[in-house]
């Protein structure tokens, strides 16, 4: 497999992993908030592997545990991010 093909395959694998882990994370979020609000959850194969105080700790641990880079990190929070103007601007295509 050529290098760019391997990169695309890995990227796709990460995207799928993130989506699957996100679904499980959202199911567990209310319980996680009771004791771990503001911390970072490291996930792999739809399971929580560890919970860390900083995103850097979660990322470093994930990279060490999963050499293929297939893992995801979710912050224990349900607060949506506000991007100001960009939160409320419709893409041109969507507005038409």
């Amino acid at each position: 497999m050529k290098k760019n093909q391997a990169s695309v395959a890995r990227s796709s694998g990460v995207d799928i992993e993130i989506e699957r882990n996100l679904r499980v994370f959202r199911e567990k979020l209310q319980n996680l908030k009771l004791h771990h609000a503001g911390r970072y959850v490291l996930m792999h194969s739809e399971e929580i592997v560890g919970i860390y105080d900083t995103v850097r700790d979660a990322q470093t641990t994930g990279a060490a545990m999963f050499s293929d880079g297939i893992f995801s990190i979710q912050k224990v929070s349900s607060d949506p991010i506000n991007l100001g103007y960009f939160s409320y601007a419709l893409p041109v295509a969507a507005a038409q």
Binding site: I18, E19, V55, S72, I81, L83, P91
Partner: protein, 151 residues
């Protein structure tokens, strides 16, 4: 305190920033310096944005790997966007022009940013520089068309 002194267009503030994969910056300890010149992007400075955002094309160019997803409040309610772990760098001219070259210094904000992927239309800018960076700086916007950003 390093300071950038640039011009604004009286309606928006743009500046060039470097985006560096947070893993690369860790490698600085081993002497592996990121090539900032190839990592520079135009940023829109936006005090209304809680966090910094990056376009998908910039993330792809840098080979950034998403770490997860975060909820963004939008017109149609909540939507989940990819987020990335990176660090923001500023390039500051520090020396006199010498043989056509200006000596530059690179300032990398220490704290990694959990930047959001944003669908930025057009090619005017690739980074929305939000309050996670701006709140670590002193920003002065002058009526004469200039601004200064100290950090």
């Amino acid at each position: 305190m390093p300071c950038l002194w640039l011009q604004h267009n009286k309606s928006q503030i743009f500046l060039n920033v470097g985006i560096v994969d947070a893993n690369t910056v860790v490698d600085l300890v081993g002497g592996n310096r990121p090539d900032i010149q190839n990592n520079m992007f135009t940023a829109l400075l936006d005090t209304g944005a809680q966090v910094t955002a990056i376009s998908k094309r910039a993330a792809d160019k840098l080979g950034l790997r998403p770490i997860g997803k975060v909820p963004i409040q939008g017109v149609g309610g909540l939507s989940y966007h990819n987020n990335y772990l990176f660090q923001v760098a500023m390039v500051i001219p520090i020396g006199e022009q010498n043989a056509g070259k200006i000596e530059l210094a690179v300032h990398i904000f220490h704290k990694p940013i959990e930047g959001v992927e944003l669908n930025i239309a057009g090619d005017q800018f690739d980074v929305l520089l939000g309050m996670d960076i701006i709140s670590n700086c002193s920003l002065a916007i002058e009526g004469n068309g200039t601004f200064s950003l100290s950090f």
